[in-house]
Amino acid sequence: MNSMQTTTVVSDRLARNVQRNIRERAIETILFGAALVSVLTTVGIVWVLVSESLNFFDHVPFGDFLTDTMWTPLFSEPHYGILPLLMGTITTSLVALVVAIPLGTVIAAYLSEFASARVREIVKPFLELLGGIPTIVYGYFALTVVTPLLQAIYPDLPGFSMLSAGLVMGIAIVPYISSLTEDAMRAVPMSLREGAYGMGSTRFQTAIRVVIPAALSGVLSAYILGISRAVGETMIVAVAAGMQPNFTMDPTEPAQTISAYIVQVALGDLPHGSIGYQSIFAAGLSLMLMTLLFNILGHVIRRRYREAY
């Protein structure tokens, strides 16, 4: 009697265990499936970009692509040199980062180390709002507000310029940099701040000499993310920087970026299947490689500067 009872109890428990195992398995499979979707999407995109680019490079020598200083797919005698688009991308990104990194860092340091809880509660929603504005709106803001303002200072500035687009793009990126930088700074343990204040530091000294160095890996990751966004940003430059590839790094000139070119072609300026059309895949691949490079750099920096508290 007694032993029978025991066996039923044990088998009951085993049955429950089996049930639990099945449930755990099902959950695991669903989660794995979700992860798989993102992996497959990435693989698919890379596959399309690479195979279409290979077609493109059947017609255009790779050397020309890298060294030719003209990008004129619409001309009867087309040139496919990525350099002008690359320079447009780099120039607008540099202008944006010159604005976004200092401003984002200062805002983050202010919110994390100086502002009272009340001020933070007021300022943060505004920053989130700034980050939520569609970039097309920023694009027209650059074109219709910032460009005329800049022209009041430099009358020679053309109606489309990398300067105007870059500045506004910088403003658009500020919320990303400031919020990630602030998170990194706030994650610095209070004991480290107390140590700094205990040595007689001012708030400013504590922020600059202790908190930012302690948060360095997070701060640099924020910058890298900002760079990636700047490089890939499309609508602002498409609207405000002009649509003409320009072999220059002078920000006061109009130019086209890689991303803006892809939009232009995708909107239908070139027939499907033509070499010109295929060129967007080569351009897209270049853009992706650049972003990948920054992501790898970010990864290396995070490992290099990670602090153990």
Binding site: L192, A196, M199, G200
Partner: protein, 260 residues
């Protein structure tokens, strides 16, 4: 008080000192002397207010909103009430160093950690820095272990070495008063013995106020002991007397382990 009878110089003292975390009255009418160039220990059960009292001596509570001091904490020789509204807490912290429970070296090299306080005070001369850093590291019995790797990150040191580095960081700026909040509670017995040995060496050089949970430690390193309970100083006196002939029943209960 026995101390004034013996005419020992008082480095700092509190007079009718009260402290509030918001509406919580954490310290009640504290009157405590800290005798110059001696070690004063604060003992008492968890939550009795030892850390709160210690952290008042360098106005650490100013960092958090809602905290309120009342009464006086006087720092000699200038007889300054450091709680006075006209006194800048940074000035206070320039004179009063603090070593925390958990070692908290800055994410910098060993050298830069010790140089920190000097740099904050505007010292730029490399040779002065070098000299003072060597002195401070020797003072903290760390020099021999780190002299060949001053440029390595401080976080690579062991816990006990990190704590001695934090002591060196304070010593470099010649503090008049050094506050220790359970400096050995995160350390193993050997590192603890090292720190205790260090406190014993330092006590001829600098005035020390130390919080400890460990009564043997208080007995070993301190000259004077204050027993705290529920935000009050119940008994204060020469360490041996407090431990061997406590005047108050609560003190005796705590010391003999009959407490709680």
């Amino acid at each position: 008080m026995s101390t004034t009878e013996q005419n020992l110089p008082v480095k700092a003292f509190t007079r009718d000192f009260n402290f509030y975390y918001g509406s919580f009255h954490a310290l009640k009418s504290i009157n405590l002397p800290v005798i110059e160039k001696h070690v004063t220990a604060l003992i008492g059960p968890s939550g009795c207010g030892k850390s709160t009292l210690l952290r008042s001596f360098n106005r650490m509570h100013d960092l958090y909103p809602g905290n309120r001091y009342q009464g006086e904490i006087v720092l000699n020789p200038d007889n300054t009430n450091i709680l006075d509204a006209r006194v800048d807490p940074i000035e206070v912290r320039m004179r009063v160093g603090m070593v925390f429970q958990k070692p908290n070296p800055f994410p910098k090299s060993i050298y830069e950690n010790v140089a920190y306080g000097l740099r904050v005070r505007g010292e730029k001369s490399r040779s002065t820095l070098d000299d003072k850093i060597e002195d401070a590291l020797r003072g903290a019995s760390l020099w021999n272990e780190v002299k060949d790797r001053l440029n390595q990150p401080a976080t690579a040191l062991s816990g006990g070495q990190q704590q001695r580095l934090c002591i060196a960081r304070c010593l470099a700026t010649d503090p008049e008063l050094l506050l220790f909040d359970e400096p050995t509670s995160a350390l193993d017995p050997i590192a603890t013995a090292n720190i205790e040995e260090l406190v014993t060496q330092l006590r001829d050089r600098v005035t020390i106020l130390i919080v400890t949970h460990n009564m043997q430690q208080a007995a070993r390193v301190s000259h004077y002991t204050a027993y705290m309970y529920l935000g009050e100083v119940v008994e204060y006196g020469i360490t041996d007397e407090v431990f061997l002939r406590p005047k108050k029943k609560e003190t005796e209960d705590y010391i003999t382990g009959r407490f709680g």
